[in-house]
């Protein structure tokens, strides 16, 4: 049984001059208990909107998000509040996501207050143990966000997300604003907490090396759609979709062999308000046929040795 499953989730935004952008189009997947699902894609592919739509931080147009027998998309406010105890989010910007006027004790303890958990002193103890858990000094409670570095603030945001002992955390570019040396500290912390607490994580990032490191399964998004999803090892070592292949070959590797990072595709992602007909990647794909330009491929299991991988590409249809 999966912990959370997403079915045909779709979210459209209205832009200037009547333009309509389908940020998330017909996305379906599920997350198992204790699993880290990496969602990777370039800017504008809809990965952040997907995270927000799952938690209903933005209301999806249609689709279902099933959690514990409840469809979050059609849930009432009070049902939603209850399920949000189990579903938490950590944002990219540790400067913008902490209220500068609140002391850290208040920031981390607020979820407990909102959900009416514990007495005042119990909450204080819980905050102290949370700060300890994420590796912050105990006196942090009485200090303000500006007194902390970017890495420390991300630890605070993680402590806040953990306050209600969630079953699932959505981490949206949670290490992207950090320098490499701090990034690895936070990645280690997230991995450690996951082992200790056993929660599931949807880890959203544009950074393939981070995604590869932390994920059990990986979903690759392009222009609002999942184009490939499967076990991390499979997706990273034998990418199926031409976009996944291009993405992997574009990453500049720290190795002595040159020409590892190659611009294998030209152009840039198209205007999302005017996506190509057929496969969204067809206008940049070196292997596109007329079929790709006309008919949108469905996300289907790949046959052969790519076990457990699904991809939306006509090349693999039989």
């Amino acid at each position: 049984m999966s912990l959370l499953s997403v079915h045909n989730l779709t979210k459209t935004f209205s832009g200037a001059n009547g333009a309509r952008v389908q940020a998330v189009s017909d996305v379906s997947f599920s997350v198992q208990a204790g699993e880290v699902l990496g969602v990777v894609g370039e800017s504008g592919c809809g990965k952040t909107t997907l995270g927000h739509a799952i938690l209903r931080l933005t209301d999806p147009d249609y689709g279902k998000v099933m959690y514990g027998g409840l469809d979050l998309v059609s849930a009432t406010k009070s049902e939603l509040k209850r399920s949000r105890r189990d579903l938490q989010i950590i944002f990219q910007d540790p400067f913008g996501s902490l209220n500068p006027r609140h002391k850290i004790g208040t920031v981390v303890g607020e979820p407990l207050l909102v959900h009416g958990i514990g007495s005042r002193s119990e909450r204080r103890d819980r905050v102290a143990s949370l700060l300890n858990l994420v590796g912050l000094p105990e006196d942090s409670s009485n200090r303000f966000p500006h007194e902390f570095s970017g890495g420390q603030r991300q630890r605070i945001a993680i402590a806040r997300a953990l306050a209600l002992e969630p079953k699932l955390i959505i981490a949206d570019e949670s290490v992207s604003a950090l320098d490499v040396s701090i990034q690895s500290q936070i990645l280690n912390l997230i991995a450690e907490l996951r082992m200790k607490l056993g929660m599931s994580i949807i880890f959203i990032s544009h950074d393939l090396s981070v995604i590869r490191h932390i994920s059990d399964r990986i979903a690759v998004m392009y222009l609002g759609r999942i184009v490939e999803i499967g076990p991390a090892i499979q997706v990273m070592s034998k990418p199926q979709h031409p976009y996944t292949q291009a993405l992997l070959s574009s990453v500049p590797e720290i190795s002595l062999s040159r020409n590892k990072a190659r611009a294998t595709i030209s152009g840039e992602p198209p205007d999302p308000s005017n996506p190509p007909s057929g496969c969204p990647f067809s206008n940049r794909c070196p292997q596109a046929t007329s079929l790709c330009r006309m008919t949108r491929p469905k996300l289907l299991p790949v046959s052969g040795d790519a076990k457990g991988v699904e991809t939306a590409c006509h090349l693999y249809a039989n």
Partner: protein, 318 residues
């Protein structure tokens, strides 16, 4: 006569207020060479680059010692008039965010022609012809139409191509590229880096590439200098640095990067954070975070030592 040097920075130190932010930087660039300047945020790489063009905000910043030789000219003693000729004609610069470098109310054509008019005596139609050629050269599709466009009508990658076209207009001998691809998606980053690399091979201009990404440097640069807290700590041909990093900071930085580790394993993190320049530790600035620090590292500032592969470390990697 030894191999000729295009740019030679000698013992450059810069203060902001009364705090030293750049200390004793030495850097040579030969014609046609691509040199990487790598460091985490706050390491002083951008300040160093701005100083080369005399674009520092003075005050509060102040160059307190050193020489910057460009060919025959001593940049630190040039008049404002001579500097204007040097900038653009001899040394050009591109930045991380092309949108803030381009003027939003002028067309692409107007902005390229402005550069051409300032630095040459071409007539209007000739300048237009040249602008068109430059755009074609940097890989802008339908360059004639692009001349009439405004920056907001271009994608991020195209804007950076336009910036490169403007930088190339006067055939500079040195291009300073400050995080030119950091704001771009990875597939577009690969295209822009290949463009810059191709242009320098074609035209023989030298490139100083400033980046936080060791992978980018590994794939494109001939030599690399690593900065930490305002000083160069290691400087080597790229193969030597990647194959055998000597400074403990460089080595730790490479070890902590997720792609250099097995997925799912604990990353060898660097403890602590980069201190503020005002709280610069005595001795080697990296020693409080260094696992291999010895007594001497606390007491004495290490200086760059060595021939081709230079490092400022009292206890280097064997």
């Amino acid at each position: 006569m030894p191999e000729q040097t295009l740019l030679s920075v000698q013992n450059l130190s810069i203060e902001a207020g009364n705090t030293t932010i750049i200390e004793g930087v030495d850097l040579d660039i030969k014609p046609g060479e691509m040199v990487g300047l790598v460091g985490e945020s706050g390491s002083g790489k951008s300040v160093t680059a701005l100083a080369l063009m005399r674009l520092l905000a003075e005050p509060p910043m102040k160059i307190v010692s050193g020489r910057i030789l460009f060919g025959e000219s001593e940049i630190l003693t040039l008049s404002e008039r001579a500097l204007r000729t040097l900038r653009g004609n001899e040394i050009a610069m591109i930045f991380q965010e092309p949108m803030t470098s381009l003027n939003p109310v002028f067309t692409v054509g107007q902005q390229i022609r402005e550069m051409i008019h300032l630095h040459s005596s071409l007539s209007g139609p000739q300048a237009n012809e040249k602008a068109w050629e430059l755009l074609a050269r940097v890989g802008i599709p339908s360059p004639k139409d692009a001349l009439l466009r405004y920056p907001h009508q271009l994608s991020g990658g195209q804007r950076q191509r336009v910036m490169i076209a403007i930088a190339l207009a006067c055939k500079p001998k040195l291009l300073i590229a400050d995080e030119p691809t950091t704001a771009l998606d990875v597939t577009v980053q690969a295209q822009i880096l290949e463009l810059i690399d191709g242009l320098r091979r074609e035209t023989g201009m030298a490139v100083l590439l400033i980046t936080h990404d060791l992978g980018v440097v590994a794939q494109h640069c001939d030599r690399v200098a690593v900065m930490y807290l305002g000083s160069i700590v290691e400087h080597a041909p790229i193969a030597d640095l990647i194959g055998n990093p000597k400074h403990r900071y460089t080595e730790a930085l490479m070890r902590t990067i997720p792609s250099n580790n097995e997925p799912g394993t604990r990353l060898p993190a660097i403890g602590g954070t980069v201190p503020q320049p005002a709280q610069r530790p005595p001795g080697c600035a990296f020693h409080p975070r260094c696992e291999a620090a010895i007594d001497r590292c606390v007491a004495e500032v290490p200086l760059l030592d060595g021939q081709d592969h230079r490092t400022a470390c009292w206890n280097p990697v064997p």
